[in-house]
Each structure stands twice: as C-alpha cells, then as structure tokens.
Symmetry: C2
Subunit: 313 residues, 2 copies
Amino acid sequence: MNLAVKFCGLGVVTLCLSASLLASAAEPAKRKGPTMAKVLAASKPGDWRGLDLENTLYVEFASGRVVIELAPAFAPRHVANVKALARERYYDGLAVVRVQDNYVVQWADPDAQKPASARKIQHAQRTLPAEFERTLDPKLPFTRLPDGDVYAREVGFSGGFPVARDRRSGKMWLVHGYGMVGAGRDNGRDSGGGTELYVVIGQAPRHLDRNVTLLGRVVQGMELLSALPRGSGPMGFYEQAEHRVPIRTIRVAADVPESERSALEIMRTDTPAFQELIESRRNRREEWFQVQAGRIEVGNVPIPVRSKSAGAR
Amino acid sequence: MNLAVKFCGLGVVTLCLSASLLASAAEPAKRKGPTMAKVLAASKPGDWRGLDLENTLYVEFASGRVVIELAPAFAPRHVANVKALARERYYDGLAVVRVQDNYVVQWADPDAQKPASARKIQHAQRTLPAEFERTLDPKLPFTRLPDGDVYAREVGFSGGFPVARDRRSGKMWLVHGYGMVGAGRDNGRDSGGGTELYVVIGQAPRHLDRNVTLLGRVVQGMELLSALPRGSGPMGFYEQAEHRVPIRTIRVAADVPESERSALEIMRTDTPAFQELIESRRNRREEWFQVQAGRIEVGNVPIPVRSKSAGAR
C-alpha cells in the first residue's frame, strides 16, 4: 500500500480532476482542501504548545525514552500520586510485566504480591479514590467531532486528550485509544493508584472507559512499547522473569536537567488549525484515496507531536 | 489492570449483588448473563467450523507461522490470484519491508521497483480490477451489530469477517480492523493484485475501507507481525535491507501435508452462540467491570479461534 503523500501540485491538477471525473456516478466528487501534511506545514507557532514539565513523565528503558503527557484536568489525584511515586523513585528498577497483543503493555512491581519483597511506598499513596470521570466543565476547551461515536454522546478533544462528554449525566472523561495511559486496578473500584500503569497498544478498548482512571498519553516512544514481545501467559503476562523489560527510571521532566529533556511540541487541539487537521482526516485529500470516508472516529484523529527544532525551522 | 475472569460462582453471588446495590443511583444495575468465557465453554461443536483448506494461507517465518483465512465471497479474483501467486512460489524469499506503528505490516518484493531484479510472475496476475466492495447479497449471512457505526450504515459479521453494508448503494464490503489483510496498491484504483499484502496492526484504519481490496484475516500468529520492530523510514519502511524479515514460504493449506497443517476452528458468526458472545462483550459481566458500556463497535468484537483439540476435549 503506497500511502506516500503525493501532492496535487500545479503540474498535476489536471490529472487529479480527470481522475475524479472518471469516478462512477455513485461516488461523490472528492472534497478538496489541504492534506494533513499541508495543514501542518501551514501551521503557525501559536498552533503548537510545549509540554508542561511538571506534568510530563520520562520513562527510561535501555531501548530509549517514552514521554508521557499527564492529564491533571481529568485525574488530578492520580497525576499527583504518580509524580510522587516517581519522585520517591518507586518505579526505578520495576519492569514491564505484561504485553497483551492488541491490548496493553503494563509495568508494575513484579513482587507486588509478595509482602516480604514488594516495593515499599514512602510518602505516596498505594490506592486512591477512582477518577473515572469528572464533572463536565463547559469552560474546559472541547473540540467536538461531528460524526458521533458508538460509545458516548459526544467525543472530541480537550487540552490534547481524547475526551467524551455527556450533558445528561454532567460528566466528561478521557477515552481509551492508542497510547493512552491508565492506572491498573484490582476488582475494587478504588484499588488503583498509579503503582501499576498500562498503555494501550491496540484497537481502542472503549469498554474500559469509565472503568479505569486514565491519566495521560504517550506522546513519544510508543514503538518502544508496542513492539515488545507479547507475553505467553494468561492476559499477556510474561511467564519468565528474564522476559520482563526493566524500567531504569521514571522521572518528572521538571526534575531532569534541561540538557537532557525531550524538546517536544504538541499541536493545540483548540485551534482552527486543528479543526482543519480533523477535516483533512475526515476527507483524505491525498491522491491515493479513491473514496473519502467523510467521517472520522475519535481513535483515528492524530494529535501531532514535533520536535521544537522542527517548529523553529 | 487485573482483567482475570473471576466468575460470580454460587459462593459469591451475594457479594456481587451487594456490590451492585452499592453502585451510585446514576449507574444502571449491571446486566447479568454469561461472560465470554462461559459462552465459549457452553458452545456446541456446531458453533465452530474448520478452515477451508483451499482458502487458508500459511505464511512461514523463522519465528513461526501466520495463518490467514481468505475471503473469496468478498474478493474472489484477488483470493484466486493470491493463491496462484503462492502456488507458483512468488512469495517465497520475499520479506516484510514495512512496519508502521499503529498501522500496518506489509510484505513485498524488495526489488519490485527494479525491473532487472524484480521477481517475475509466471501465471498469476500482477494487477487486477479493484474489489473494494461487492453487491449486497441478502442471502449472505449477516449478524448485524445493534449499536451503529461511525463510518457505515450497518456493520456486522459475515462468514467470519467484519462487514459493512449499505442498502442504499446496494453494496457490502469488508472493513478494516486488527488483523485484516489487504492488497497494497499504488495510486491507481486497479493497481493492486496481491503481490504486496498488508496486515493491520493498530487502531482500525476505517478510512481505508473501500479504498483497498481486503481479502482475508489473520486467525493465528498476529504476534509474529505486531511485535516486529517498527521501520524508521517514511511510512515505516525498513531503511536497511538487513532489517527486513524474510518470508520463507507462503502456502495454500490444502497443498501442505496434513501432518503439517494447523488444526484450528473458528467460531461461526451466524449462530445464537455468537450473538451471546456479542452480548457478553457489549455488557461485560466479569466482576472487574464497574460500568458496562452497553454498546460495542465492530473492531472490538473478537472472533474466537481455537485448536481442534480444544474442541474435542
């Protein structure tokens, strides 16, 4: 499949028009407009934002760094606790213990079930009241998707995160999708707290929405998680200790020397440029596409990330 | 996240009821019924079917075998051509050349663009007219999902494949989702034919529906593809030849000695048992779930596969 972005430049506009005329009468004409590549190229510095260093985690593996943007607007207590756990170095030396295909990567204390050897917590909390949803605050930015959703009344984006809203219940919540980070829990509603974190590596498991506290999103390094060998045990747990993937450290970005920080920018999700990006994905304008979907679901909208140097060019 | 299937056996029914009484008034009571594990355990031999050996491919890697069920009801010419290519050993010695995170794994002739060294085709076709959709045949089995879809008027399952239908256009088509197999193409509508095949390894790229000929689904061995290292080049292409993952052979199962065949069964998708399975996923009954979605999208319905020996137990 060749998905190279081939622009319809001036030289080939005629060709593009001819192709659309050849389409069967049943096919509507392709909607014109910029491709995502052109939307990004035309974006202004104000369409991007840096990461809040106090709400960014660096997860360091031997293979590299995974960068997580935390979502204090949706899970304030869990975010504070995960930062406290990072700052007391709770996570350092723990490991990825589970990789379930088309589902999640999860890291935890492998000895969590052994009272004698389980990692001790100093100041942070082991469990917290669930933060599965929050009160719908109409003042929070919300870029609503126009095409509906199978699971929720409204879906869109708020502050760089995929979000659902329900005016009837007066609630809003983060929704599961590729790269979303959540706090594992046992059967009890309030049995999570951030000591175990999981990252979605497959089809959005939307049935988990409002069942787990989501607290962030991987903005760089997904391939360090998604390409890990799948565990052969039930639910993808690694059966041999040597298969586990050690975590060197997890640090709050603000605590890392400036020279060692990842200089990233995220596209704002509350701008006309992001609306244009959504349109460029609802109706794909690249020459390759024969049929435009004319619709998009929340899990298929990318939230672009770039290096700061790319923005400065 | 502990998703262990913990049954509410007789001994703990009281506990389960108490828990539901404690739920807030805003939460509807959990719908009762069997979990998926119980649906599978209660299934009858007639709820399962073997694979049609003439429409099954074995893709052999050094790491193991990927089993693909072909979909001749939806892409008859592509299926016939892929089988012809396999039978003339076109694929043997080719390689996975592309792994794009959250998107696709693709294999092809790495030298396809070099006329001198490109693999020759003997009897099969290099390109075919597109089979993006087919005439809606109401006689084909169709288990419709009740919760709608963002992209299509109707979605459901037909013969073990995820399918969309549109009565207005009189068409039906296979839809993209995890493990679906399609024929890569260049920009031209009819430029594919099966020499390059891709497999979805991430969020269902539904915008590709009706843009590519889908022709099958991986029913075993996804983890051999999904855990491959991501390519660092544009669109996930491997930049160094040594990163490519060689394909030893691709064979039609009927051509493989019986002793070397994978003895698999697929759950039928046109039975009351499969309807029960869908219900068990729309409203998760495992104790872990606090909130039942009450809805499901096509990409989240599993189509169970088991070894024949499991069925015989």
